[in-house]
Symmetry: C2
Subunit: 682 residues, 2 copies
């Protein structure tokens, strides 16, 4: 009801031209809260800043409040007198009041109210999980006024738009050590994400510490897997931050790692070797073999014991069924059981698997292929397929919601595809204009980002996730109306710096890689270049999935590039402003002048580092583009006419600059092309 | 014998002016090997680079050779065909031949021979540990010739000068999580260190996972301690790299953490609270109480079970005995047992403790205070006291060696004191000119760096250790004659970059901290300033041990500064070169000009970041120094005479610039003073 009022209010703002978004986003918060009422003045943070806890809360609140205190002390360098937050305290600066201990479960209450006054601050929430969300908001509000650290006076009422705000990490294709998980959980909490989904098994590796089947770890992990203690630690660490953890054991496809140890469970009479390449492979469990279900029963019992969440992800995706087609016994079984298609056979499999999970008190979750008429409505359908799979984006999401399933969106949120933040940001799981009943809409639980790790290693995963994941986190938490891309980018740059303080390497890893490639600390020219390129997008970087193996060195040029080349984006916008008369030529010229000379500085670095040979033409093209840009501006400014061959020549350079180099692509081509186009007609 | 020949050879080189050091160090190796014979040509590394293992080796060699392969692939980006090294292989590029499996023990053989030819490479060693040392040498030899990655043709015969090449980490005062230990073990292996000493208990925390005394973890760890699995993992990880791990449980002093849980074991009838400050504190175990020995017996049994190394460090340092003096029962006990002094009482304690350790098959190791006539000669004396403690540096080391003890030097190797690398580098545990018999000399096992963590946190420990630790590693491995400080610094800069590729944050953490302090990515002016300062040295940063507590935010300005301000060192040298006529004025002017304008750029950053207020006068003084420098050069160049008050005014500025700011000190004062001095007499 309150929510409805908020939406109405928002609509009112919009109608009267008062953008709620503008008012809210001036505070640099991400995600933007549901409602903000700004006030006058500041709360001044001093050495005596202290926190008091009241009400009935889970002990995790004391831990998180202490962590908040330490983080605020890091920001302000005030050396707080209070060392730990442990309970009630008189005259505290910040009082947190909670009604009841939160539970780490789907649909748990996460709303909070934050009131900052000049003399005191209050966070009140129904659950400590809500209060923990409020602490993250307060931390983001830390500012400075007249040489003092301050919070602005305001009142925030906030609650999430969606209950499922997730991140899937593929720890199978490249194993991710504990420190990667820890720091990324910290980052998730900072932007109010609440589900970590671990993709534990795939063709390239088995990472769950099964006791029943030690062969899996011995033969299919390369020695890289979590121990029970590791998983207990990760779950506790996540729960501490109000984050659920969902395990995935992907079956019946993506089964190479399992079949390396147990070929007899496969659909083909052969031996298997652990997959080292990327792609969709044929090894598949045999759904007609009872031993498969015995195996899964034992394995799932172990997984269910470790992960307390009632949801259990069984994958179920990308089974092309080739080995089923080739196997006469399986074909005979299908006939005998009236299973007309491979899809029917997989349904048969899923239903049996689902019964095993029921035995252990778990609900099934699976990629959208598991949605068949026989699948019980207690399952969660994980919508991932879209245009690239020949479907309409979000179609399986809406189909699931209409069919009565709860459902989660991942299509549009595959961060490993290296699309810019803006693209993911505008994907909305349940926009108001969708043709869904309120009941159907309520079944859309939210969204989940995916980080598949074919091309991602522990050293680079942070820069593949962040800061873009914060933009998606906002989509899943904030009101639908918050959609200003420019403002998102502005705030994202600020949040990105704050995330670094949690130990994330998304900013620092670039220079680490460049120093490695340059074998030197002098990397300025490489930085100039890497700032205007983005890695090849989608699945194009890894041609046919065969350019790289799991052992390839993934600290290459493309790994120093990120999905959003901010410098290039701003340059392209500047060109537009210049051509529309709102920017001086000189600002562009200074930048282009630097760029035009950059290749000369890059060359000696390449000459002493063979690993950089792959960027020689990229670097040259970049400087050639800059020269064209300078020439074009010269002509525009002087009102001159280009010589007959100039435009043709420019277009050839622009064409050549479209070639990738070092598996990255130049992002300033459109800006330069605009300048050339301006002279075309003359 | 072979070693002796080497020394003779070195002497020969030195006599004939052929510096062995110059010949060896041209290859940028650190530590410098014992003997190098350079050849003609290069081995070209290609995609088909492969490794074969032969002989009788421990399985760790296959793991380390695989790790070498991955690291070399990261350096060359060649995407090697070979994924894992598992045994013999025909036509391999690199053949490793080992005579017997090495054992992780003191005095184990670590020598190796490395032969690089144009077509093949061979490493041969008595043990796989020697071969692993050779792999690190080979990796450091990776270079580039004509656009290809190469190794230079050469033969290296190498063996360590000392058997004990250690690093002590104080994980008690600030807990260091597993990832810190892992990456520092990688770095240790890269520079051939072979002992990790974990200081597990101190007044500020108890970090050993005792099962017998859960109260210790509950009350004295703040929830931060290693699990058994953690320690097993760390030991295995270290052993994999040929590194021993020594535990330390510091008794009878430094006992606050123990007494918080068990006050009845203390020498004073009181309750104890976990220490949050730095210093030498009074809480001490009661040596007259049999319950203390029962407690230690159970605790040491557990520690002995986890750590396989036969040496067990019992601390024994810095017991002032105040609580003993105050306790009448203890005084009576001393009288009754003819123990005249506190030192005698501690000896009584040590002898009883030593017997407990014997029961568990352990030798005693302890700080030099444990050396008393009654201490058995099987103990290792850890020499740490020196000038600051009113003794002659290394005196306890030589005393121990003469008395028949094996001994290890740490005095001079306290990296937490933030002295420059050069200072630690020139400390030699057993220089040839020392008056020791060969037998006495052989008892000097080597040295161990100490990283006490009063002011060090996981985010900053790497930059406090590295790259300086590599210089000490060289002292402990390389021939005594390798002592060229300039060349050490030249190679250290190269090794530092290589160490970063192991995941160390010693380079990247500076900018992370500056971005935090500036709340921005634009940190250039802060970088200019931080590069010419060093943290206050010795124990001066933390006035009386009370400026900071264990909860203080240690990502401050001083934490972005490092012990070697290279830019300042080079500037001061440049001034000398300028004054001696071997450097043009303009080179100094360009730098001074930038510096003179730096404060204007720093000011707006300070204004929006209260945490930087502490560097305002530091920054201003820095720019004022630069102005003086420019004026001085102007006068020198023009042959002008300074005005009457100019020199006085300069001296005042120089004096003021000596004031610390942000707990750091400007390092360019001597260079500027030299310029002013040049004009003084005129």
């Amino acid at each position: 009801m309150k929510r409805f009022f908020q939406y109405q209010l928002t609509l009112l703002f919009l109608l009267f031209g008062l953008s709620l978004s503008a008012q809210e986003t001036a505070l640099n918060l991400m995600p933007v809260p549901e409602q903000i009422e700004t006030g006058e003045g500041q709360f001044v943070i001093t050495k005596r800043f202290s926190i008091s806890l009241t009400g009935d809360y889970h002990e995790r609140l004391a831990h998180e409040a202490t962590r908040f205190l330490r983080r605020l002390d890091q920001k302000t360098a005030l050396f707080f007198d209070q060392h730990k937050v442990s309970g009630e305290r008189t005259n505290a600066s910040l009082t947190i009041t909670v009604e009841r201990p939160g539970e780490i479960r789907l649909h748990e209450e996460e709303s909070y109210q934050l009131r900052v006054g000049t003399e005191s601050i209050e966070i009140s929430a129904q659950t400590d999980i809500g209060a923990i969300r409020g602490l993250e908001t307060l931390l983001q509000l830390t500012g400075a006024t007249n040489g003092q650290s301050t919070f602005p006076v305001l009142t925030i009422n906030d609650s999430p738009r969606f209950h499922w705000r997730g991140l899937m990490l593929d720890v199978a294709r490249h194993f991710m050590p504990m420190d990667v998980l820890y720091r990324n959980l910290d980052a998730m909490a900072a932007v109010k994400l609440n589900v970590l989904h671990l993709h534990l098994v795939d063709d390239q590796g088995f990472r769950f510490p099964t006791k029943a089947f030690p062969e899996l770890l011995e033969l299919s992990s390369d020695g890289q897997y979590y121990t029970r203690e590791d998983l207990d630690d990760i779950i506790a660490y996540a729960h501490q931050r109000g984050i659920r953890v969902i395990p995935e054991i992907d079956v019946p496809g993506h089964a190479t790692a399992i079949l390396v140890a147990f070929p007899e469970l496969g659909s083909k009479d052969t031996t298997y070797t652990l997959e080292r390449y990327s792609g969709i492979f044929d090894p598949t469990l045999d759904p007609t073999n009872d031993a498969v279900y015995d195996f899964l029963d034992q394995l799932f019992a172990e997984v269910a014991e470790v992960f307390p969440d009632p949801y259990f992800h069984i994958g179920g995706d990308e089974n092309l069924g080739r080995h089923w087609n080739e196997n006469k016994d399986i074909q005979a079984f299908m006939k005998a059981n009236n299973l007309a298609t491979n899809h029917d056979l997989q349904t048969y499999f899923n239903i049996r698997v689902q019964k095993i999970l029921n035995k252990y008190g778990k609900h099934t979750m699976g990629w959208d292929e598991i949605m068949t008429p026989e699948m019980p409505k207690s399952a969660i359908i994980h919508s991932w397929r879209g245009n690239w799979e020949g479907l309409v984006a979000k179609q399986t999401l809406y189909d699931a919601a209409r069919a009565g399933y709860e459902t989660v969106l991942s299509n549009g949120y595959y961060l490993d595809l290296m699309m810019p933040a803006s693209q993911h940001y505008l994907v909305d799981p349940a926009p108001a204009d969708m043709d869904l009943t309120p009941a159907e809409r309520s079944r859309i639980l939210g969204g989940e980002m995916c980080m598949w790790s074919e091309l991602v290693v522990p050293e680079t995963i942070d820069s593949r996730l962040w800061p873009r994941a914060a933009a998606v986190a906002e989509r899943l938490w904030s009101p639908e109306e918050v959609q200003d891309v420019q403002d998102m980018y502005r705030r994202l740059a600020i949040i990105s710096l704050q995330l670094e303080q949690l130990g994330l390497k998304h900013i620092s890893s670039r220079n680490v890689i460049l120093r490695k490639l340059a074998k030197s600390k002098d990397i300025e020219p490489l930085k100039v270049l890497v700032e205007v390129v983005e890695p090849m997008k989608g699945y194009t970087r890894n041609t046919n999935g065969t350019l790289y193996t799991t052992f390839s060195p993934f600290m290459l040029w493309a790994d120093a590039a990120t999905a959003d080349a901010t410098v290039a984006r701003v340059f392209n916008e500047d060109v537009e402003r210049y051509l529309s008369g709102s920017l001086e030529a000189n600002q562009l010229r200074t930048q282009l002048d630097l760029w035009s000379k950059n290749h000369k500085k890059v060359l000696p670095i390449i000459n002493r580092s063979p690993a950089l040979l792959e960027i020689e033409s990229l670097s040259e093209n970049f400087s050639r583009l800059a020269v064209i840009g300078l020439e074009a501006i010269g002509l525009i400014e002087s009102g001159g006419k280009p010589s007959s061959g100039w435009v043709t020549q420019c277009q050839q350079v622009l064409e050549e600059a479209r070639e990738s180099g070092g598996r990255t692509e130049l992002q300033v081509i459109s800006g330069i092309a605009m300048l050339v186009d301006e002279l075309k007609g003359l």
